[in-house]
C-alpha cells in the first residue's frame, strides 16, 4: 500500500523510539520549528566543538510520526559535521523531497523519507526539525 511507502519500518521505529531525544543545557544553542497547521513544535539543541563541528545534538517536542522520525534521523546524521556541512545536508535533503532525480549523496537513512514525495502536504512535517536545526546553528544564545 502507498501508506507503507510513507511509514517505512525505519520511520515507525524512529517515531516510537526517537534517538537523541532530550535537551542540552547552555551554552548549547537551540532552534525552534513550528507548524501552524497542526501545532507541532520541535526544539533542536546543538553544542559545538572548539573546531566548529557539531558535538552533540538533541531534540524535544511533540509531533507526528513523520516529523519525529525525520528529526530523529537528522540528529543521527549531523553529529560530527561542520555547520556548513550540516546546512548543505539540509539543502540536499529538501531537494531530495521536492525535486526529481537529484543526487542522494550523504543522505543515508534519510532516504527512508522518500515516501513524502507522494504526500506533499506532509513536506512541512518532514522538514520541521531541519528548520529548527538551522535555527540552532545560527543562534548565538542557548
Amino acid at each position: 500500500m502507498e501508506i507503507d511507502e510513507l511509514y517505512q519500518t525505519i520511520i515507525l521505529d524512529h517515531s516510537k523510539r526517537p534517538r537523541n531525544f532530550g535537551e542540552l543545557p547552555p551554552p548549547a544553542t537551540k532552534g525552534e520549528g513550528y507548524n501552524p497547521s497542526c501545532g507541532d513544535e520541535v526544539v533542536v539543541f546543538i553544542s559545538q566543538s572548539p573546531q566548529g563541528t557539531i558535538e552533540q545534538v538533541r531534540f524535544t517536542g511533540q509531533a507526528c510520526a513523520i516529523c519525529t522520525a525525520s528529526t530523529s534521523l537528522m540528529t543521527t546524521q549531523v553529529k560530527g559535521k561542520t555547520v556548513a556541512e550540516a546546512l548543505g545536508l539540509k539543502r540536499t535533503f529538501i531537494d531530495f523531497l521536492t525535486q526529481d532525480a537529484v543526487p542522494t549523496t550523504g543522505l543515508g537513512n534519510l532516504q527512508a523519507l522518500a515516501g513524502v514525495k507522494k504526500f506533499p502536504q506532509r513536506l512541512k512535517c518532514a522538514t520541521l526539525g531541519w528548520h529548527a536545526l538551522e535555527g540552532a546553528l545560527k543562534s548565538n544564545v542557548g
Binding site: I3, L6, C38, Q62, C64, A65, I66, C125
Partner: protein
C-alpha cells in the same frame, strides 16, 4: 426512524460522494470544514452563468435586472432562513470570518473604548477570537473569556449574570456549536441574559445554521453569522444578520462602488440598508447558489437534520469510546454531529493520513482552536464531522480503520 432515512433519501443528490478514493468508497467526514453540494445547487450556478449573468444593481438591461432579482431573492430567502423580519437585515459577506470582521471593525470602532469589555468564550474559532483581539487593541477595550472546563467543554453559563453585572461588557460573542468540542450552547438563554444587561450579542452560527432551526427573533441576538459552504452552498458567500436597531447606525466596512448614493470629489454618502456594507461587485452566483441550498435544506427540514446529527454524534461517541486509549472531546450526550479525539500517542496527522488511504476524509489539527487545544493539553486532534448524507455504517467503517491504525502505529 428519522435516522439513515435521510441519507437513503438524499445522498444520491450529491454526485461527489459517489466515488472511490485510494480504491475505497469515499467516506466524507469533514463536513465541519465544508459540506458537499447537491445537484440542484451545482445546476443552478451553472444555469445562472449560462443564462442570466450580469452585474447587479447597475444595468438597465434585461440580464442585469434578472441577475439583480436573483441576488435580492437570495437575500429575502436568507431572511426567511434565519427568521429575520426583513431582508434589510441581511448582509452578504464572503463568509463567517468576514461577517465577524465587519462587526468587529464597524460596530467595534464606534462602540468600544477604554474600560469596555468584550466577552467571548475559550472555545471560539480563531475567526471569532482574533478580530476581537484586534478590536480590543485598537479601541483600548479589554478582551475577557468565559472559561471552558475539562474535555467535556463545559461553560458555566450561570456565571454570565455575575460577569455582565460586574464588568462594563459591551459585546458578548460566542459560538452556537463548537467546531472542536461538538457542544451546543444555549443561545436563547445567553442572549436573554445579555439583553437584560444591555449587552450586544454576536452568534457564530457557522456550525449550526445548516444543522439546526434558527430564528433570530426568538434568539433575540443582535448579530448572527454563517458561511454558505458549511450548509450545502458555495464557498466565498456568507450571511451576516444584523438587528435593525444596531445595524442602522453602523458605518460601512469597505468603501467603493455599489455602496454609495452620492459621490463628489470631496465626499460621499452611503446607501441605506444592507447595500452600504456590500462594496464592490458581490459574489452573485454564490448568493444564488446559497438560495437554492437554503431551499434544499428547508425541504429536508432542519429539525430532521438536527435529530440526525444528534443521533450520529452519539452513535460515534459510543462506538469510538470502545477504542483503547481514545480521548474524546465534548459532551457524551446532547452533542452535535461532530467528534474530535486523540488516539493514544498517535498524532492526528498520522491518523488522518492513514484513514485517507482507506477513503475516509477526516480533519486533523487544532481546528482553529489553538488556545483551547493548549489549555486541554492537546496539540492536535482528529475530527470526524457528519451531515445528513452520512450513515451509521460509515461510522462503523471509521471505527474499523481506526482499529487498524492503532495496530499500525502501535499506539
Amino acid at each position: 426512524m428519522v435516522v439513515n432515512s435521510l441519507a437513503e433519501r438524499y445522498r444520491a443528490d450529491f454526485p461527489i460522494l459517489d466515488q472511490k478514493v485510494n480504491g475505497f468508497p469515499l467516506v466524507y467526514l469533514d463536513n465541519a470544514a465544508s459540506t458537499q453540494h447537491p445537484n440542484c445547487v451545482i445546476d443552478e450556478i451553472a444555469r445562472y452563468y449560462r443564462e442570466d449573468h450580469a452585474n447587479v444593481h447597475r444595468g438597465i438591461h434585461a440580464l442585469s435586472s434578472r441577475s439583480t432579482k436573483l441576488y435580492e431573492d437570495a437575500r429575502a430567502r436568507a431572511a426567511r432562513f434565519l427568521g429575520a423580519a426583513s431582508a434589510e437585515s441581511i448582509i452578504f459577506t464572503r463568509g463567517t470570518t468576514e461577517g465577524i470582521n465587519l462587526v468587529a471593525t464597524s460596530w467595534g470602532t464606534a462602540h468600544l473604548g477604554p474600560g469596555d469589555v468584550i466577552l467571548i468564550t475559550e472555545m471560539e474559532h480563531h475567526a471569532n477570537l482574533i478580530p476581537w483581539q484586534i478590536a480590543a487593541r485598537r479601541t483600548g477595550a479589554s478582551l475577557h473569556y468565559l472559561a471552558v472546563h475539562g474535555d467535556e467543554g463545559t461553560i458555566d453559563w450561570s456565571d454570565l449574570e455575575r460577569l455582565l453585572s460586574q464588568n462594563r461588557v459591551r459585546l458578548l460573542a460566542f459560538t452556537h456549536i463548537s467546531n472542536s468540542l461538538g457542544c451546543i450552547n444555549p443561545v436563547q438563554a445567553i442572549c436573554a441574559t445579555a439583553r437584560r444587561h444591555g449587552v450586544t450579542t454576536l452568534v457564530d452560527a457557522a456550525q449550526s445554521a445548516g444543522h439546526a432551526p434558527i430564528n433570530v427573533q426568538e434568539l433575540d441576538c443582535d448579530f448572527l453569522v454563517f458561511s454558505g459552504h458549511k450548509c450545502c452552498g458555495p464557498t466565498g458567500i456568507g450571511i451576516l444578520y444584523g438587528n435593525p436597531a444596531v445595524l442602522d447606525d453602523m458605518q460601512p466596512y469597505q468603501f467603493g462602488g455599489e455602496m454609495i448614493s452620492r459621490v463628489t470629489y470631496e465626499s460621499a454618502d452611503w446607501k441605506p440598508g444592507p447595500h452600504r456594507f456590500e462594496a464592490g461587485t458581490p459574489h452573485i452566483a454564490g448568493a444564488i447558489g446559497l438560495n437554492v441550498a437554503m431551499d434544499y435544506l428547508e425541504t429536508i427540514g432542519r429539525p430532521a437534520i438536527q435529530a440526525n446529527d444528534h443521533h450520529l454524534g452519539e452513535v460515534a461517541y459510543e462506538r469510538l469510546s470502545c477504542l483503547p486509549g481514545i480521548r474524546i472531546l465534548g459532551p457524551r450526550r446532547e452533542r452535535a454531529g461532530l467528534i474530535s479525539f486523540q488516539l493514544g500517542a498517535t498524532h492526528a496527522h498520522d491518523l488522518v493520513a492513514y484513514a485517507d488511504q482507506f477513503g475516509i476524509a477526516l480533519r486533523g489539527g487544532h481546528h482553529c482552536n489553538q488556545p483551547l487545544m493548549r489549555k486541554l493539553g492537546l496539540q492536535a486532534t482528529a475530527r470526524a464531522s457528519f451531515y445528513f448524507y452520512n450513515t451509521e455504517s460509515e461510522i462503523d467503517r471509521l471505527v474499523e480503520v481506526l482499529e487498524a491504525a492503532i495496530k499500525y502505529f502501535g499506539a
